[in-house]
């Protein structure tokens, strides 16, 4: 058949019945057909490539930081270089990996398929969001190359408005990145509200979609606030306005309030999609209807709502009122409840399920353990008295890495391994997958658990050297060793997944015997996702009604795991 490219805003010819071998990947091959695509699946692949690129840049910065800290006197950098290095690590990882990773890749690819739609509501906006991401990325990388940014990813004033490093350019890049994020969130909200297939009620939405709905609400409520905050810093640098500068009558603590009003909820922009992934993995690899579906769904919304009320816990020692501190502390404790609801429900889902320990499930179990530690140590920091001791130490570094890396990144890898055969139609070797999942888990714990200990003992964060306290060196060396293990665990998937693109075993529509509309369409899906819009008759994770599709590949290595059908 004639190749059909979906250009944004243009209509597409319906696929012909004999087109089963034509899919979104091979429907056309020109570079132009990728760079001007309106197909949400192709945009997801573009995002996958670019997000992976930025992830490796951020990882290199992290490795350099870790190597530097092996010696109490530092090994190779000036203090200023070190500041620029951890700033680059934070800025790249947060704004260019964690925030867009799961929503822009997997949300983009899967939400329309999961709800039975042909595409997102606004394909052109979707493509524009990728271009804004790339422009933002180029600007931020330029700011690093032209001298770097040494204010950390938080850009606290008055330092960020006074320093001569490339803060202005970097902030303009992040401002554009905000628009990219907003475009994605807005697209998801409209799509989930208005484009669900017949029968796909809110009660039947996959939990992945619920999580992205909650995430999108945070994105469109929070991102504009940080956008205006960063813009004010830029104006302060360019036009000497005085909103945050005490010399001009302003108040630097106001910057912290406005910054954390976004940046604390942003933690949930990073981790809620990951929780959505975990809900899918746990239910499908336990072959069991998810326990407490509604509780998991509503707890996502509760996290989105409560997440906006706790920003002050970043400022317990920044001079805010003690009474504010008490309220923010209480609310932060309450915020642990919906997260705990999720963890308990996931555990109950596994209970008496037919658990299959394939790669994605190994990641999901890793997530449970790491997120549990990350979440519980968060309570130490939500508590006023202990926070005064722990704030700005390595304890806090370890805490948010357990949530961000142990939570969001591990969920990202789980999602990558779970939907990889759907996205590219080929399976990677499961044993390699499991091994690297294990390496990630071990390497991660070895990297960050010692940081809890030395943080508790008083090692401050963001210090270039610690010759005043050489007793911390063993912990730093353990941490650096762990990060090399972690690096191996991250390089391996990059290798075998790339290998599998050409040599992996081809799979059918449903290699995992999973439930959900995405497993009812071809792997890889056709451009319009479905031959015709499906009609949904069952709730999500309906394992009581037998497999929806029996056509999986007999040769698939997964077959061996099918103890029961």
């Amino acid at each position: 058949m004639s190749a059909t490219v979906v250009t944004p805003g243009e209509a597409v010819q319906a696929p012909e019945p004999e087109s089963s071998s034509v899919n979104y990947l091979n429907v056309s091959h020109t570079l132009r057909s990728w760079l001007l695509t309106g197909d949400h699946k192709r945009i997801a692949v573009l995002y996958l490539i670019s997000v992976t690129f930025f992830f490796f840049l951020g990882s290199i910065a992290a490795s350099l930081v870790r190597i530097e800290l092996m010696s109490p006197n530092g090994l190779m950098m000036e203090s200023e270089t070190y500041n620029k290095m951890f700033s680059a690590h934070g800025i790249i990882m947060i704004f260019f990996f964690l925030i867009p990773s799961i929503p822009a890749i997997f949300g983009n690819f899967l939400i329309p398929i999961m709800i039975g739609a042909r595409d997102l509501a606004f394909p052109r906006l979707n493509l524009a969001s990728w271009y804004m991401y790339m422009i933002a990325g180029v600007l931020v990388l330029m700011s690093f190359l032209m001298g770097g940014v040494e204010s950390g990813w938080t850009f606290y004033t008055p330092y960020s408005s006074l320093t001569t490093s490339q803060v202005t350019l970097c902030l303009i890049g992040l401002f554009i990145m905000g628009f990219s994020s907003i475009a994605t969130g807005l697209n998801f909200i409209v799509t989930i509200h208005k484009m669900r297939a017949p029968g796909m009620t809110w009660d039947r939405l996959p939990l992945f979609v619920w999580a992205h709905y909650a995430t999108s609400i945070i994105i469109i409520l929070g991102t504009p606030v940080v956008a205006i905050t960063l813009l004010l810093v830029v104006m302060e640098r360019m036009f000497d306005i005085g909103v945050f500068n005490p010399a001009n009558g302003g108040d630097p603590v106001l910057f912290q309030h406005m910054f954390w009003f976004y940046s604390h909820p942003a933690v949930y922009i990073m981790v809620l999609p990951g929780m959505g992934v975990i809900s899918e993995l746990i239910s499908n690899f336990s072959q069991k209807r998810t326990f407490g579906y509604h509780m998991i769904a509503y707890s996502s919304l509760a996290i989105a709502l409560l997440g906006f009320l706790v920003w002050g816990h970043h400022m317990f020692v920044a001079g805010q009122s003690m009474y504010q501190g008490v309220v923010f502390s209480l609310l932060s404790f309450i915020l642990a409840v919906p997260s705990a609801i999720k963890v308990f429900n996931w555990t109950a889902t596994i209970y008496k399920g037919q658990v299959r320990l394939q790669t994605p499930m190994v990641y999901a179990l890793g997530f449970l353990g790491l997120f549990l530690i990350g979440g519980l140590t968060g309570l130490y920091l939500a508590c006023l008295a202990t926070d005064v001791h722990l704030t700005a130490t390595y304890f806090i570094v370890a805490h948010f890495h357990y949530v961000m890396v142990g939570g969001a990144m591990v969920a990202f890898l789980g999602a990558l391994h779970y939907w990889w055969p759907k996205m590219f139609g080929r399976m990677y070797p499961d044993s390699w997958g499991k091994m690297s999942a294990l390496l990630v888990f071990v390497g991660f714990n070895l990297t960050f658990f010692p940081q809890f200990v030395m943080g508790y003992m008083g090692m401050p964060r963001r210090y270039h050297y610690y010759y005043f306290a050489p007793e911390f060196q063993p912990y730093h060396i353990a941490s650096t060793l762990g990060s090399s293990v972690l690096a191996v665990g991250l390089i391996l998937p990059a290798l075998y997944l790339t290998w599998s693109l050409k040599y992996g075993k081809k799979v059918g529509p449903n290699p995992w015997n999973a439930r959900g509309l995405e497993w009812e369409t071809a792997s890889p899906p056709i451009t319009t996702n479905f031959e015709q819009i499906p009609i949904v008759e069952h709730e999500a994770y309906d394992f009581d009604h037998g497999p929806i599709d029996d056509t999986w590949d007999e040769e698939s290595p997964i077959r061996a795991h099918e103890v029961k059908r």
Binding site: G9, A117, I189, V190, P224, L232, D240, N248
Partner: protein
């Protein structure tokens, strides 16, 4: 390739991802409102900062605000309110599928927007720049009011009215594009929804000014 060429069984105004025209219209309107939510939060950050500083420095802010020209601000309020009426009429005309009135009312909106910016820039801003109220070349000789607080006030004034003015300017560009497309009978504006969406945006810009005007110009002692 026109949308008429596709294979789904719905009429030719509908893009391929939608099932039918009502779904498409609703999606666009929901999307526009979601965008306006982001705009509210965007301006909300500025309003928050302004209100906090005004609570802190109210007596000084009262003295400083006398520098602003209530007459010109009030005139601009009337101009913008009338432009919102014209925009409502433009949307109504497009819904009625009447091309000339649609274009006419949109032109009225354009004229109002231009008048607003003209008054703002030529009569208000240029005067204040001339007497040295812009933050990067700030001068303040009034005794009894600390210069850094006056500078803060004018930082907020220029920041907020400037951002609002930028929204007016962007609105003019978008409305200009819409007028061109309607004039050319372009396919994408056959349905009235683009006009409706731009109308929502315009009313939002109007409402921002409705808050800015009393906050800056009509200050109680």
């Amino acid at each position: 390739m026109s949308a008429a060429a596709h294979g789904h069984d719905h009429d030719d105004l509908v893009f391929h991802q939608f099932e039918d025209l009502p779904q498409q219209r609703e999606s666009y309107i929901v999307g526009m409102w979601a965008f306006l939510v982001t705009e509210v939060m965007f301006f909300g950050g500025l309003f928050l900062a302004y209100i906090l500083y005004r609570m802190k420095y109210q007596p000084y802010f009262f003295e400083i605000h006398k520098e602003l020209n209530i007459g010109l601000g009030g005139l601009n309020t009337v101009v913008l309110l009338f432009s919102s009426f014209a925009m409502a009429m433009a949307v109504y005309s497009h819904q009625m599928k009447r091309k000339k009135p649609t274009l006419g009312w949109l032109t009225v909106v354009q004229l109002c927007a231009a008048a607003f910016l003209f008054i703002k820039l030529v009569f208000e801003w240029s005067h204040k720049i001339h007497v040295g109220h812009v933050p990067w070349a700030f001068q303040w000789n009034e005794p009894g009011v600390p210069p850094e607080i006056a500078k803060l006030f004018f930082s907020m004034y220029f920041g907020m009215t400037g951002l609002h003015g930028l929204h007016v300017l962007i609105g003019m560009i978008i409305i200009g594009a819409l007028q061109y497309l309607i004039w050319k009978d372009a396919y994408s504006v056959k349905d009235y929804i683009p006009t409706e969406m731009i109308g929502l945006y315009w009313h939002f810009v109007d409402i921002v000014w409705i808050f800015l005007f009393p906050l800056f110009y009509l200050m109680p002692q």
